[in-house]
Protein backbone atom coordinates (compact mmCIF):
# COMPACT_ATOMS: atom_id res chain seq x y z
CA UNK A 1 0.00 0.00 0.00
CA UNK A 2 2.94 2.31 0.50
CA UNK A 3 2.97 5.07 -2.07
CA UNK A 4 6.22 6.54 -3.38
CA UNK A 5 7.70 9.27 -1.19
CA UNK A 6 8.08 11.69 -4.00
CA UNK A 7 5.07 13.29 -5.53
CA UNK A 8 3.94 16.44 -7.16
CA UNK A 9 0.61 16.76 -5.40
CA UNK A 10 -1.08 20.04 -4.77
CA UNK A 11 1.24 21.19 -2.04
CA UNK A 12 4.68 20.02 -2.95
CA UNK A 13 5.69 16.63 -1.59
CA UNK A 14 2.77 14.28 -0.98
CA UNK A 15 1.88 14.03 2.65
CA UNK A 16 1.37 10.50 3.93
CA UNK A 17 -1.05 9.38 6.60
CA UNK A 18 -1.39 6.10 8.43
CA UNK A 19 -4.71 4.31 8.83
CA UNK A 20 -5.21 1.46 11.26
CA UNK A 21 -7.82 -1.18 10.55
CA UNK A 22 -9.95 -2.89 13.17
CA UNK A 23 -7.55 -5.86 13.21
CA UNK A 24 -4.60 -3.54 13.79
CA UNK A 25 -3.07 -3.56 10.33
CA UNK A 26 -1.39 -0.28 9.44
CA UNK A 27 -1.85 1.26 6.00
CA UNK A 28 0.26 4.15 4.81
CA UNK A 29 -1.40 6.20 2.10
CA UNK A 30 -1.23 9.62 0.50
CA UNK A 31 -3.30 12.18 2.34
CA UNK A 32 -4.93 13.17 -0.95
CA UNK A 33 -6.27 9.64 -1.42
CA UNK A 34 -7.45 9.26 2.17
CA UNK A 35 -9.15 12.64 1.93
CA UNK A 36 -11.71 11.20 -0.48
CA UNK A 37 -13.30 10.12 2.77
CA UNK A 38 -15.25 13.01 4.25
CA UNK A 39 -14.81 11.45 7.66
CA UNK A 40 -11.01 11.29 7.37
CA UNK A 41 -10.66 14.60 5.60
CA UNK A 42 -11.35 16.64 8.72
CA UNK A 43 -8.90 14.68 10.83
CA UNK A 44 -6.26 14.97 8.13
CA UNK A 45 -6.81 18.70 7.75
CA UNK A 46 -6.26 18.98 11.48
CA UNK A 47 -2.90 17.33 10.94
CA UNK A 48 -3.92 13.91 12.28
CA UNK A 49 -2.66 10.59 10.99
CA UNK A 50 0.88 11.74 10.38
CA UNK A 51 4.05 10.46 11.97
CA UNK A 52 3.66 7.35 14.07
CA UNK A 53 0.14 8.15 15.29
CA UNK A 54 -2.15 6.71 12.66
CA UNK A 55 -5.93 7.04 12.52
CA UNK A 56 -7.77 4.05 14.01
CA UNK A 57 -10.75 2.79 12.03
CA UNK A 58 -12.51 0.37 14.40
CA UNK A 59 -15.36 -0.29 11.93
CA UNK A 60 -13.24 -1.42 8.99
CA UNK A 61 -11.23 -4.62 8.78
CA UNK A 62 -7.98 -4.88 6.87
CA UNK A 63 -9.36 -6.75 3.84
CA UNK A 64 -12.04 -4.15 3.33
CA UNK A 65 -9.74 -1.23 4.04
CA UNK A 66 -7.22 -2.36 1.45
CA UNK A 67 -10.04 -2.61 -1.06
CA UNK A 68 -11.30 0.86 -0.14
CA UNK A 69 -7.81 2.33 -0.44
CA UNK A 70 -7.37 0.70 -3.82
CA UNK A 71 -10.37 2.72 -4.92
CA UNK A 72 -9.18 5.92 -3.29
CA UNK A 73 -5.71 5.77 -4.80
CA UNK A 74 -7.13 5.20 -8.25
CA UNK A 75 -9.62 8.03 -7.94
CA UNK A 76 -7.50 10.55 -6.04
CA UNK A 77 -5.82 12.18 -9.10
CA UNK A 78 -9.17 12.79 -10.82
CA UNK A 79 -10.69 14.09 -7.61
CA UNK A 80 -7.74 16.44 -7.09
CA UNK A 81 -8.46 17.97 -10.47
CA UNK A 82 -11.91 18.77 -9.20
CA UNK A 83 -13.88 16.47 -11.45
CA UNK A 84 -11.18 17.04 -14.04
CA UNK A 85 -12.27 19.17 -16.95
CA UNK A 86 -8.88 18.42 -18.47
CA UNK A 87 -9.20 14.66 -18.00
CA UNK A 88 -9.02 12.89 -21.31
CA UNK A 89 -11.63 10.49 -22.55
CA UNK A 90 -9.03 7.76 -22.20
CA UNK A 91 -8.61 8.55 -18.51
CA UNK A 92 -12.32 8.50 -17.93
CA UNK A 93 -12.73 5.25 -19.81
CA UNK A 94 -9.91 3.76 -17.76
CA UNK A 95 -11.60 4.83 -14.51
CA UNK A 96 -14.87 3.38 -15.68
CA UNK A 97 -13.21 0.10 -16.56
CA UNK A 98 -11.55 0.09 -13.16
CA UNK A 99 -14.89 0.76 -11.42
CA UNK A 100 -16.67 -2.04 -13.24
CA UNK A 101 -13.88 -4.43 -12.39
CA UNK A 102 -13.74 -3.15 -8.85
CA UNK A 103 -17.32 -4.04 -7.91
CA UNK A 104 -17.20 -7.41 -9.65
CA UNK A 105 -16.85 -9.04 -6.26
CA UNK A 106 -18.44 -11.48 -3.91
CA UNK A 107 -21.56 -10.35 -2.13
CA UNK A 108 -20.07 -10.47 1.35
CA UNK A 109 -17.22 -8.25 0.18
CA UNK A 110 -19.71 -5.94 -1.46
CA UNK A 111 -21.61 -5.64 1.78
CA UNK A 112 -18.45 -4.76 3.75
CA UNK A 113 -17.63 -2.24 1.09
CA UNK A 114 -21.06 -0.64 1.33
CA UNK A 115 -20.73 -0.24 5.06
CA UNK A 116 -17.18 1.09 4.78
CA UNK A 117 -18.15 3.57 2.07
CA UNK A 118 -20.97 4.70 4.31
CA UNK A 119 -18.90 4.99 7.49
CA UNK A 120 -16.02 6.71 5.75
CA UNK A 121 -18.37 8.85 3.65
CA UNK A 122 -16.66 8.28 0.33
CA UNK A 123 -19.17 9.68 -2.06
CA UNK A 124 -17.91 8.19 -5.31
CA UNK A 125 -17.68 4.75 -3.78
CA UNK A 126 -21.17 5.04 -2.33
CA UNK A 127 -22.54 5.83 -5.77
CA UNK A 128 -20.58 3.00 -7.28
CA UNK A 129 -21.88 0.37 -4.86
CA UNK A 130 -25.42 1.75 -5.13
CA UNK A 131 -25.23 1.31 -8.88
CA UNK A 132 -23.90 -2.20 -8.42
CA UNK A 133 -26.79 -3.15 -6.14
CA UNK A 134 -29.24 -1.53 -8.56
CA UNK A 135 -27.79 -3.62 -11.38
CA UNK A 136 -28.32 -6.72 -9.29
CA UNK A 137 -31.98 -5.78 -8.84
CA UNK A 138 -32.92 -4.76 -12.35
CA UNK A 139 -35.62 -6.81 -14.03
CA UNK A 140 -36.32 -8.97 -10.99
CA UNK A 141 -39.50 -9.61 -9.07
CA UNK A 142 -39.61 -8.82 -5.35
CA UNK A 143 -39.10 -12.46 -4.49
CA UNK A 144 -36.07 -12.66 -6.74
CA UNK A 145 -34.72 -9.46 -5.25
CA UNK A 146 -35.08 -10.91 -1.78
CA UNK A 147 -33.09 -13.93 -2.83
CA UNK A 148 -30.50 -11.95 -4.71
CA UNK A 149 -29.95 -9.72 -1.74
CA UNK A 150 -29.72 -12.66 0.61
CA UNK A 151 -33.01 -12.41 2.41
CA UNK A 152 -34.28 -15.62 3.86
CA UNK A 153 -37.54 -16.66 2.26
CA UNK A 154 -40.31 -14.67 3.86
CA UNK A 155 -42.25 -15.98 6.81
CA UNK A 156 -45.98 -16.18 6.22
CA UNK A 157 -46.41 -12.90 8.09
CA UNK A 158 -43.79 -11.18 5.98
CA UNK A 159 -45.34 -12.62 2.88
CA UNK A 160 -48.70 -11.26 3.92
CA UNK A 161 -47.16 -7.90 4.61
CA UNK A 162 -45.45 -7.88 1.26
CA UNK A 163 -48.66 -8.78 -0.47
CA UNK A 164 -50.48 -6.20 1.48
CA UNK A 165 -48.04 -3.61 0.41
CA UNK A 166 -47.96 -4.36 -3.10
CA UNK A 167 -48.70 -6.50 -4.97
CA UNK A 168 -48.94 -9.72 -6.33
CA UNK A 169 -46.44 -9.08 -8.96
CA UNK A 170 -48.17 -10.46 -11.92
CA UNK A 171 -45.45 -9.82 -14.42
CA UNK A 172 -48.35 -9.95 -16.70
CA UNK A 173 -47.95 -9.70 -20.45
CA UNK A 174 -44.46 -11.10 -20.49
Amino acid sequence: MAAPESGDGNNGAARMVTLISSDNTRFEVEAAAASLSQTLQLTILDGGGGGGDGIPLPNVDSATLSKVLEYCIKHAPAAANGGAPNATAVDRAELERFDNEFVNIDQSVLYSLIMAAHNLEIEGLQSLVAKKVADMIKGKSPMEIRRTLGFPDPTPEEQAEMNAHMLEYGWAYE
Binding site: Q107, Y111, H118, P142, M143, I145, H165, M166, G170, W171
Partner: protein, 443 residues
Amino acid sequence: MAGSRRRRQRKRHDDLKPAIRVNFVERLPQELVGKIHGHLSFLDRLAFAAVCKTAGHPVPQQSDDTAPWLVFPGETEAKSTFFSLAEGRAVSARTSDLGTRGHVVLGSSSGWLATADEHAGIHIVDPFTGEHAALPDIRTVPFLRCSLSSGVHFFVDTEPLQKIRYGGGVQDDGKKSLITPRSRGIIGDGVEDAIHHDGRFYSVSSISGTIEAWERISNNSGEFKSKVVAPGRAVPVVKGFHLDRKYLVAMPDGGLAVVLKYIRDERPRMYQQPKSWACRFNVEVLVDAARGRWKETRDIGDAALFVGMNSSVCVCVSSSSTAAAGKIIKAGCVYFADDVLRQAAERRESDDKAYGVQPRGRHGGASPGARAAAMVGATGVVHAFRLTMDICDMLVANSGCDKVFFGRIILVPLDMNGGLLPVPHQFFSDFQNSITFFPFDST
Protein backbone atom coordinates in the same frame (compact mmCIF):
# COMPACT_ATOMS: atom_id res chain seq x y z
CA MET B 1 -50.02 -20.24 -13.60
CA ALA B 2 -48.82 -19.44 -10.14
CA GLY B 3 -47.06 -22.77 -10.01
CA SER B 4 -45.14 -22.18 -13.17
CA ARG B 5 -44.16 -18.75 -11.98
CA ARG B 6 -42.85 -20.19 -8.78
CA ARG B 7 -40.88 -22.78 -10.68
CA ARG B 8 -39.40 -20.14 -12.89
CA GLN B 9 -38.33 -18.13 -9.90
CA ARG B 10 -36.87 -21.19 -8.30
CA LYS B 11 -34.86 -21.84 -11.41
CA ARG B 12 -33.48 -18.31 -11.55
CA HIS B 13 -32.80 -18.60 -7.88
CA ASP B 14 -30.63 -21.66 -8.49
CA ASP B 15 -28.67 -19.73 -11.07
CA LEU B 16 -27.63 -17.24 -8.46
CA LYS B 17 -24.94 -18.67 -6.35
CA PRO B 18 -23.49 -16.20 -3.91
CA ALA B 19 -20.89 -17.98 -1.83
CA ILE B 20 -22.08 -16.42 1.37
CA ARG B 21 -25.60 -15.15 1.73
CA VAL B 22 -25.64 -11.91 3.61
CA ASN B 23 -28.90 -10.25 4.32
CA PHE B 24 -27.73 -6.75 3.90
CA VAL B 25 -30.82 -4.92 2.80
CA GLU B 26 -32.05 -4.79 6.37
CA ARG B 27 -28.97 -2.91 7.40
CA LEU B 28 -28.41 -0.78 4.34
CA PRO B 29 -27.84 2.86 5.17
CA GLN B 30 -30.86 4.88 4.22
CA GLU B 31 -29.02 7.24 1.87
CA LEU B 32 -27.80 4.24 -0.01
CA VAL B 33 -31.32 2.95 -0.48
CA GLY B 34 -32.13 6.34 -1.95
CA LYS B 35 -29.15 6.11 -4.27
CA ILE B 36 -30.11 2.64 -5.40
CA HIS B 37 -33.58 3.92 -6.23
CA GLY B 38 -31.94 6.60 -8.30
CA HIS B 39 -30.46 3.96 -10.57
CA LEU B 40 -33.69 2.01 -11.03
CA SER B 41 -36.51 2.41 -13.46
CA PHE B 42 -40.10 2.77 -12.35
CA LEU B 43 -41.04 -0.89 -12.28
CA ASP B 44 -37.79 -1.97 -10.68
CA ARG B 45 -38.39 0.63 -8.01
CA LEU B 46 -41.79 -0.84 -7.33
CA ALA B 47 -40.26 -4.27 -6.80
CA PHE B 48 -37.34 -3.00 -4.74
CA ALA B 49 -39.64 -0.90 -2.61
CA ALA B 50 -41.75 -3.94 -1.84
CA VAL B 51 -38.64 -5.64 -0.49
CA CYS B 52 -37.29 -2.62 1.34
CA LYS B 53 -40.62 -1.91 2.90
CA THR B 54 -40.62 -5.26 4.65
CA ALA B 55 -37.10 -4.48 5.81
CA GLY B 56 -38.43 -1.35 7.42
CA HIS B 57 -36.87 1.17 5.08
CA PRO B 58 -38.78 4.25 4.18
CA VAL B 59 -38.82 4.78 0.45
CA PRO B 60 -37.56 8.10 -0.76
CA GLN B 61 -39.63 10.11 -3.17
CA GLN B 62 -38.21 10.73 -6.56
CA SER B 63 -39.60 12.85 -9.27
CA ASP B 64 -37.25 12.21 -12.13
CA ASP B 65 -39.08 9.32 -13.72
CA THR B 66 -39.06 10.35 -17.31
CA ALA B 67 -40.99 7.68 -19.10
CA PRO B 68 -44.75 7.89 -19.21
CA TRP B 69 -46.62 4.94 -17.87
CA LEU B 70 -50.17 3.71 -17.94
CA VAL B 71 -52.47 2.67 -15.16
CA PHE B 72 -55.08 0.19 -16.30
CA PRO B 73 -57.63 -1.39 -14.07
CA GLY B 74 -56.97 -5.08 -13.74
CA GLU B 75 -59.40 -7.81 -14.59
CA THR B 76 -61.31 -7.04 -11.46
CA GLU B 77 -61.76 -3.80 -9.67
CA ALA B 78 -59.49 -5.04 -6.93
CA LYS B 79 -56.41 -4.67 -9.07
CA SER B 80 -54.69 -2.11 -11.21
CA THR B 81 -52.03 -2.76 -13.76
CA PHE B 82 -49.11 -0.42 -14.04
CA PHE B 83 -47.58 -0.50 -17.46
CA SER B 84 -44.34 1.20 -18.28
CA LEU B 85 -44.11 2.29 -21.88
CA ALA B 86 -40.36 2.66 -21.80
CA GLU B 87 -39.76 -0.76 -20.34
CA GLY B 88 -42.61 -2.59 -21.99
CA ARG B 89 -43.39 -4.38 -18.74
CA ALA B 90 -46.36 -4.47 -16.47
CA VAL B 91 -47.00 -5.15 -12.82
CA SER B 92 -50.28 -5.36 -11.03
CA ALA B 93 -51.16 -3.79 -7.74
CA ARG B 94 -54.05 -4.24 -5.36
CA THR B 95 -56.20 -1.18 -5.49
CA SER B 96 -57.46 -1.70 -1.97
CA ASP B 97 -53.93 -1.46 -0.65
CA LEU B 98 -53.18 1.56 -2.74
CA GLY B 99 -56.32 3.20 -1.51
CA THR B 100 -57.42 3.61 -5.08
CA ARG B 101 -60.28 1.21 -5.21
CA GLY B 102 -63.13 2.83 -7.05
CA HIS B 103 -61.01 5.91 -7.53
CA VAL B 104 -60.04 7.67 -10.67
CA VAL B 105 -56.46 8.66 -11.22
CA LEU B 106 -56.20 12.37 -11.80
CA GLY B 107 -52.52 12.77 -12.33
CA SER B 108 -49.15 12.69 -10.71
CA SER B 109 -46.72 15.04 -9.11
CA SER B 110 -43.33 14.28 -7.58
CA GLY B 111 -43.96 10.57 -7.54
CA TRP B 112 -47.41 10.79 -5.99
CA LEU B 113 -50.55 9.77 -7.79
CA ALA B 114 -53.54 11.97 -7.22
CA THR B 115 -56.86 10.15 -7.20
CA ALA B 116 -60.45 11.10 -6.58
CA ASP B 117 -63.32 9.12 -5.18
CA GLU B 118 -67.00 9.39 -5.98
CA HIS B 119 -67.50 12.12 -3.43
CA ALA B 120 -64.85 14.31 -5.04
CA GLY B 121 -62.46 13.55 -2.22
CA ILE B 122 -58.92 13.89 -3.53
CA HIS B 123 -56.24 11.58 -2.26
CA ILE B 124 -52.57 11.17 -2.89
CA VAL B 125 -51.07 7.73 -3.19
CA ASP B 126 -47.51 6.53 -3.33
CA PRO B 127 -47.64 3.63 -5.77
CA PHE B 128 -44.33 2.31 -4.47
CA THR B 129 -45.35 1.86 -0.89
CA GLY B 130 -49.12 2.06 -0.97
CA GLU B 131 -49.07 4.93 1.47
CA HIS B 132 -51.96 7.26 0.96
CA ALA B 133 -53.49 10.31 2.48
CA ALA B 134 -56.51 12.46 1.89
CA LEU B 135 -56.02 16.01 0.73
CA PRO B 136 -58.10 18.78 2.26
CA ASP B 137 -61.63 19.13 1.00
CA ILE B 138 -61.74 20.37 -2.56
CA ARG B 139 -63.90 23.29 -1.45
CA THR B 140 -60.98 24.73 0.44
CA VAL B 141 -59.35 25.61 -2.88
CA PRO B 142 -60.09 29.32 -3.06
CA PHE B 143 -60.99 29.49 -6.74
CA LEU B 144 -63.22 26.42 -6.84
CA ARG B 145 -66.93 26.84 -6.37
CA CYS B 146 -69.31 24.06 -5.57
CA SER B 147 -72.79 23.65 -6.97
CA LEU B 148 -75.29 21.17 -5.66
CA SER B 149 -77.94 21.84 -8.25
CA SER B 150 -77.74 18.68 -10.34
CA GLY B 151 -75.48 16.34 -8.52
CA VAL B 152 -72.36 17.83 -7.08
CA HIS B 153 -70.19 19.67 -9.45
CA PHE B 154 -67.40 22.15 -9.16
CA PHE B 155 -66.30 24.95 -11.34
CA VAL B 156 -63.33 27.24 -11.52
CA ASP B 157 -63.79 30.88 -10.82
CA THR B 158 -61.15 32.31 -13.11
CA GLU B 159 -60.81 35.71 -11.53
CA PRO B 160 -59.47 34.58 -8.16
CA LEU B 161 -57.47 31.90 -9.97
CA GLN B 162 -55.69 34.53 -12.00
CA LYS B 163 -55.15 36.66 -8.95
CA ILE B 164 -53.59 33.76 -7.13
CA ARG B 165 -51.39 32.73 -10.01
CA TYR B 166 -50.46 36.09 -11.46
CA GLY B 167 -50.95 38.45 -8.59
CA GLY B 168 -53.91 40.06 -10.24
CA GLY B 169 -51.81 41.85 -12.81
CA VAL B 170 -53.10 40.07 -15.85
CA GLN B 171 -55.81 41.46 -18.06
CA ASP B 172 -58.45 39.09 -19.23
CA ASP B 173 -58.11 39.77 -22.92
CA GLY B 174 -57.82 36.15 -23.96
CA LYS B 175 -54.28 35.88 -25.21
CA LYS B 176 -52.67 37.11 -22.06
CA SER B 177 -54.74 35.10 -19.65
CA LEU B 178 -54.66 31.40 -19.07
CA ILE B 179 -54.34 29.23 -22.09
CA THR B 180 -57.50 27.31 -21.71
CA PRO B 181 -57.52 24.26 -23.92
CA ARG B 182 -61.28 24.13 -24.30
CA SER B 183 -62.06 27.74 -24.80
CA ARG B 184 -63.58 27.37 -28.20
CA GLY B 185 -66.23 29.92 -28.82
CA ILE B 186 -65.44 31.90 -25.72
CA ILE B 187 -62.79 34.11 -27.19
CA GLY B 188 -63.38 33.71 -30.89
CA ASP B 189 -60.79 31.63 -32.68
CA GLY B 190 -59.34 30.51 -29.36
CA VAL B 191 -57.19 27.62 -28.37
CA GLU B 192 -59.04 24.36 -28.70
CA ASP B 193 -56.32 21.91 -27.79
CA ALA B 194 -52.71 22.22 -26.71
CA ILE B 195 -49.80 19.88 -26.23
CA HIS B 196 -46.29 20.17 -24.95
CA HIS B 197 -43.91 18.93 -27.58
CA ASP B 198 -40.27 19.49 -28.38
CA GLY B 199 -39.85 21.85 -25.46
CA ARG B 200 -42.71 24.14 -26.44
CA PHE B 201 -46.45 24.40 -26.24
CA TYR B 202 -48.33 23.95 -29.50
CA SER B 203 -51.98 24.70 -29.96
CA VAL B 204 -54.68 24.29 -32.56
CA SER B 205 -57.29 26.99 -32.82
CA SER B 206 -60.97 26.22 -32.67
CA ILE B 207 -62.36 27.77 -35.83
CA SER B 208 -59.59 28.12 -38.39
CA GLY B 209 -57.51 25.19 -37.15
CA THR B 210 -54.38 27.32 -37.11
CA ILE B 211 -51.37 25.68 -35.47
CA GLU B 212 -49.44 27.99 -33.18
CA ALA B 213 -46.27 27.56 -31.14
CA TRP B 214 -46.09 29.35 -27.80
CA GLU B 215 -42.98 30.80 -26.23
CA ARG B 216 -42.60 32.44 -22.87
CA ILE B 217 -41.91 36.14 -23.04
CA SER B 218 -38.61 36.84 -21.32
CA ASN B 219 -39.83 39.55 -18.97
CA ASN B 220 -40.77 37.33 -16.03
CA SER B 221 -44.44 38.07 -16.39
CA GLY B 222 -45.16 34.42 -17.08
CA GLU B 223 -46.90 35.33 -20.29
CA PHE B 224 -46.64 33.37 -23.49
CA LYS B 225 -46.62 34.69 -27.03
CA SER B 226 -47.66 32.65 -30.02
CA LYS B 227 -46.34 32.33 -33.52
CA VAL B 228 -48.25 30.72 -36.36
CA VAL B 229 -46.65 27.46 -37.43
CA ALA B 230 -49.14 26.40 -40.05
CA PRO B 231 -52.49 27.66 -41.26
CA GLY B 232 -55.42 25.32 -40.84
CA ARG B 233 -57.55 24.02 -43.63
CA ALA B 234 -61.24 23.49 -44.26
CA VAL B 235 -62.53 20.56 -42.26
CA PRO B 236 -63.82 17.72 -44.43
CA VAL B 237 -67.51 16.95 -44.12
CA VAL B 238 -68.42 13.45 -42.98
CA LYS B 239 -71.90 12.37 -43.93
CA GLY B 240 -74.22 11.79 -41.01
CA PHE B 241 -71.77 13.16 -38.47
CA HIS B 242 -70.89 16.62 -37.30
CA LEU B 243 -67.50 17.85 -36.20
CA ASP B 244 -67.25 17.95 -32.44
CA ARG B 245 -63.66 18.46 -31.44
CA LYS B 246 -60.13 18.86 -32.69
CA TYR B 247 -57.12 17.44 -30.92
CA LEU B 248 -53.49 18.17 -31.58
CA VAL B 249 -51.05 15.25 -31.49
CA ALA B 250 -47.31 14.89 -32.03
CA MET B 251 -46.66 11.84 -34.17
CA PRO B 252 -43.75 9.44 -33.58
CA ASP B 253 -41.70 11.10 -36.33
CA GLY B 254 -42.07 14.44 -34.54
CA GLY B 255 -44.56 15.85 -37.04
CA LEU B 256 -47.86 17.30 -35.96
CA ALA B 257 -51.30 15.92 -36.71
CA VAL B 258 -54.81 17.02 -35.93
CA VAL B 259 -57.36 14.44 -34.88
CA LEU B 260 -60.90 15.44 -35.81
CA LYS B 261 -63.69 13.95 -33.77
CA TYR B 262 -67.10 13.64 -35.40
CA ILE B 263 -70.14 12.60 -33.49
CA ARG B 264 -73.67 11.49 -34.25
CA ASP B 265 -76.54 10.98 -31.86
CA GLU B 266 -78.00 7.52 -32.14
CA ARG B 267 -81.75 7.19 -31.98
CA PRO B 268 -82.89 4.71 -29.34
CA ARG B 269 -84.29 1.62 -31.01
CA MET B 270 -86.40 0.50 -28.14
CA TYR B 271 -88.60 2.20 -25.65
CA GLN B 272 -86.65 3.34 -22.62
CA GLN B 273 -83.38 2.44 -24.22
CA PRO B 274 -80.86 5.01 -23.12
CA LYS B 275 -79.71 7.59 -25.56
CA SER B 276 -76.43 6.78 -27.18
CA TRP B 277 -74.11 8.35 -29.63
CA ALA B 278 -71.37 7.31 -31.95
CA CYS B 279 -68.23 8.97 -33.04
CA ARG B 280 -65.48 8.61 -35.57
CA PHE B 281 -62.08 10.14 -35.97
CA ASN B 282 -60.18 11.54 -38.90
CA VAL B 283 -56.46 11.99 -38.63
CA GLU B 284 -54.94 14.82 -40.63
CA VAL B 285 -51.17 14.93 -40.81
CA LEU B 286 -49.36 18.20 -41.39
CA VAL B 287 -47.20 17.47 -44.42
CA ASP B 288 -45.81 20.89 -45.22
CA ALA B 289 -46.11 23.52 -42.52
CA ALA B 290 -44.95 26.43 -44.63
CA ARG B 291 -47.47 25.82 -47.38
CA GLY B 292 -50.13 24.63 -45.00
CA ARG B 293 -50.53 21.25 -46.67
CA TRP B 294 -52.44 18.59 -44.78
CA LYS B 295 -53.06 14.98 -45.67
CA GLU B 296 -55.81 12.80 -44.32
CA THR B 297 -54.74 9.31 -43.34
CA ARG B 298 -56.54 6.20 -42.16
CA ASP B 299 -53.28 4.50 -41.43
CA ILE B 300 -51.23 5.75 -38.53
CA GLY B 301 -48.89 2.79 -38.70
CA ASP B 302 -47.62 1.54 -35.38
CA ALA B 303 -48.90 4.50 -33.48
CA ALA B 304 -51.77 4.55 -31.05
CA LEU B 305 -53.28 7.93 -30.31
CA PHE B 306 -54.74 8.86 -26.94
CA VAL B 307 -57.02 11.84 -27.26
CA GLY B 308 -59.76 13.38 -25.20
CA MET B 309 -59.69 15.42 -22.09
CA ASN B 310 -56.30 16.98 -21.55
CA SER B 311 -53.11 16.67 -23.49
CA SER B 312 -53.02 14.11 -26.27
CA VAL B 313 -50.37 11.44 -26.37
CA CYS B 314 -49.08 9.34 -29.22
CA VAL B 315 -47.60 5.98 -28.34
CA CYS B 316 -45.48 4.08 -30.81
CA VAL B 317 -46.45 0.50 -30.14
CA SER B 318 -43.85 -1.33 -32.15
CA SER B 319 -40.65 0.40 -31.11
CA SER B 320 -38.40 -2.17 -29.53
CA SER B 321 -38.72 -0.84 -26.01
CA THR B 322 -42.47 -1.01 -26.14
CA ALA B 323 -42.90 -4.30 -27.95
CA ALA B 324 -44.95 -5.67 -25.10
CA ALA B 325 -47.13 -2.59 -25.25
CA GLY B 326 -48.72 -4.09 -28.33
CA LYS B 327 -50.38 -6.66 -26.16
CA ILE B 328 -52.17 -3.97 -24.20
CA ILE B 329 -52.36 -1.15 -26.67
CA LYS B 330 -53.43 -1.75 -30.23
CA ALA B 331 -51.52 -0.02 -32.97
CA GLY B 332 -53.47 2.02 -35.49
CA CYS B 333 -56.18 2.90 -33.00
CA VAL B 334 -57.45 6.11 -31.55
CA TYR B 335 -58.11 5.81 -27.84
CA PHE B 336 -60.63 8.33 -26.80
CA ALA B 337 -61.62 9.62 -23.39
CA ASP B 338 -64.90 11.44 -23.26
CA ASP B 339 -64.61 15.11 -22.83
CA VAL B 340 -68.25 15.98 -23.09
CA LEU B 341 -69.30 15.86 -19.51
CA ARG B 342 -73.01 15.50 -19.68
CA GLN B 343 -72.66 12.70 -22.16
CA ALA B 344 -70.15 11.00 -19.95
CA ALA B 345 -72.67 10.97 -17.15
CA GLU B 346 -75.38 9.64 -19.40
CA ARG B 347 -73.16 6.87 -20.59
CA ARG B 348 -72.44 5.92 -17.07
CA GLU B 349 -76.10 5.52 -16.28
CA SER B 350 -76.81 3.67 -19.47
CA ASP B 351 -73.98 1.24 -18.81
CA ASP B 352 -75.41 0.37 -15.49
CA LYS B 353 -78.78 -0.29 -16.97
CA ALA B 354 -77.67 -2.03 -20.08
CA TYR B 355 -74.98 -4.19 -18.60
CA GLY B 356 -76.15 -4.65 -15.08
CA VAL B 357 -72.96 -3.53 -13.48
CA GLN B 358 -72.57 -5.42 -10.28
CA PRO B 359 -71.97 -3.69 -7.02
CA ARG B 360 -68.41 -3.10 -6.09
CA GLY B 361 -66.46 -5.98 -4.70
CA ARG B 362 -68.57 -8.60 -6.33
CA HIS B 363 -67.03 -8.75 -9.73
CA GLY B 364 -66.34 -12.21 -10.94
CA GLY B 365 -63.42 -13.20 -13.10
CA ALA B 366 -64.22 -10.95 -16.00
CA SER B 367 -65.28 -7.43 -15.26
CA PRO B 368 -68.20 -5.96 -17.13
CA GLY B 369 -65.76 -4.33 -19.40
CA ALA B 370 -65.03 -1.05 -17.82
CA ARG B 371 -61.39 -0.27 -18.18
CA ALA B 372 -59.88 2.88 -16.95
CA ALA B 373 -56.49 4.07 -17.84
CA ALA B 374 -54.61 7.06 -16.70
CA MET B 375 -51.54 8.28 -18.41
CA VAL B 376 -49.06 10.11 -16.37
CA GLY B 377 -46.30 11.90 -18.15
CA ALA B 378 -43.06 13.32 -16.91
CA THR B 379 -44.52 16.78 -16.86
CA GLY B 380 -47.32 15.72 -14.60
CA VAL B 381 -49.83 16.15 -17.36
CA VAL B 382 -52.82 14.08 -16.57
CA HIS B 383 -55.05 11.90 -18.63
CA ALA B 384 -57.79 9.86 -17.13
CA PHE B 385 -59.54 7.39 -19.33
CA ARG B 386 -62.18 4.89 -18.75
CA LEU B 387 -62.29 2.81 -21.87
CA THR B 388 -65.25 0.59 -22.20
CA MET B 389 -64.25 -2.22 -24.42
CA ASP B 390 -67.52 -3.99 -24.95
CA ILE B 391 -69.42 -0.79 -25.53
CA CYS B 392 -66.72 0.14 -27.93
CA ASP B 393 -67.12 -3.08 -29.83
CA MET B 394 -70.84 -2.59 -30.00
CA LEU B 395 -70.53 0.93 -31.26
CA VAL B 396 -67.92 0.01 -33.77
CA ALA B 397 -70.20 -2.70 -35.06
CA ASN B 398 -73.25 -0.46 -35.13
CA SER B 399 -71.86 2.70 -36.49
CA GLY B 400 -69.37 1.49 -38.99
CA CYS B 401 -66.56 3.37 -37.32
CA ASP B 402 -63.34 1.57 -37.71
CA LYS B 403 -60.28 1.60 -35.53
CA VAL B 404 -61.97 3.42 -32.76
CA PHE B 405 -62.05 2.63 -29.13
CA PHE B 406 -64.82 4.25 -27.31
CA GLY B 407 -64.34 5.61 -23.91
CA ARG B 408 -65.66 7.96 -21.39
CA ILE B 409 -64.07 10.06 -18.84
CA ILE B 410 -65.57 9.76 -15.46
CA LEU B 411 -64.02 12.69 -13.86
CA VAL B 412 -62.45 15.72 -15.37
CA PRO B 413 -58.82 15.73 -14.43
CA LEU B 414 -57.67 18.65 -12.44
CA ASP B 415 -54.04 19.31 -13.05
CA MET B 416 -52.45 19.14 -9.64
CA ASN B 417 -49.36 20.90 -10.90
CA GLY B 418 -51.29 23.99 -11.78
CA GLY B 419 -50.65 23.62 -15.49
CA LEU B 420 -53.33 23.85 -18.08
CA LEU B 421 -56.76 23.48 -16.62
CA PRO B 422 -59.31 21.60 -18.61
CA VAL B 423 -62.18 23.85 -19.42
CA PRO B 424 -65.21 22.12 -20.77
CA HIS B 425 -67.76 24.54 -22.07
CA GLN B 426 -70.41 22.89 -24.07
CA PHE B 427 -73.02 21.95 -21.54
CA PHE B 428 -72.23 24.37 -18.83
CA SER B 429 -72.36 27.66 -20.59
CA ASP B 430 -73.69 29.18 -17.40
CA PHE B 431 -70.47 28.23 -15.66
CA GLN B 432 -67.98 29.01 -18.31
CA ASN B 433 -65.12 27.19 -16.76
CA SER B 434 -66.57 24.29 -14.94
CA ILE B 435 -64.96 21.21 -13.59
CA THR B 436 -67.47 18.57 -12.86
CA PHE B 437 -67.27 15.53 -10.69
CA PHE B 438 -69.60 12.73 -11.44
CA PRO B 439 -70.20 9.78 -9.25
CA PHE B 440 -68.60 6.96 -11.15
CA ASP B 441 -69.70 4.06 -9.11
CA SER B 442 -73.34 3.43 -8.62
CA THR B 443 -72.94 1.67 -5.29
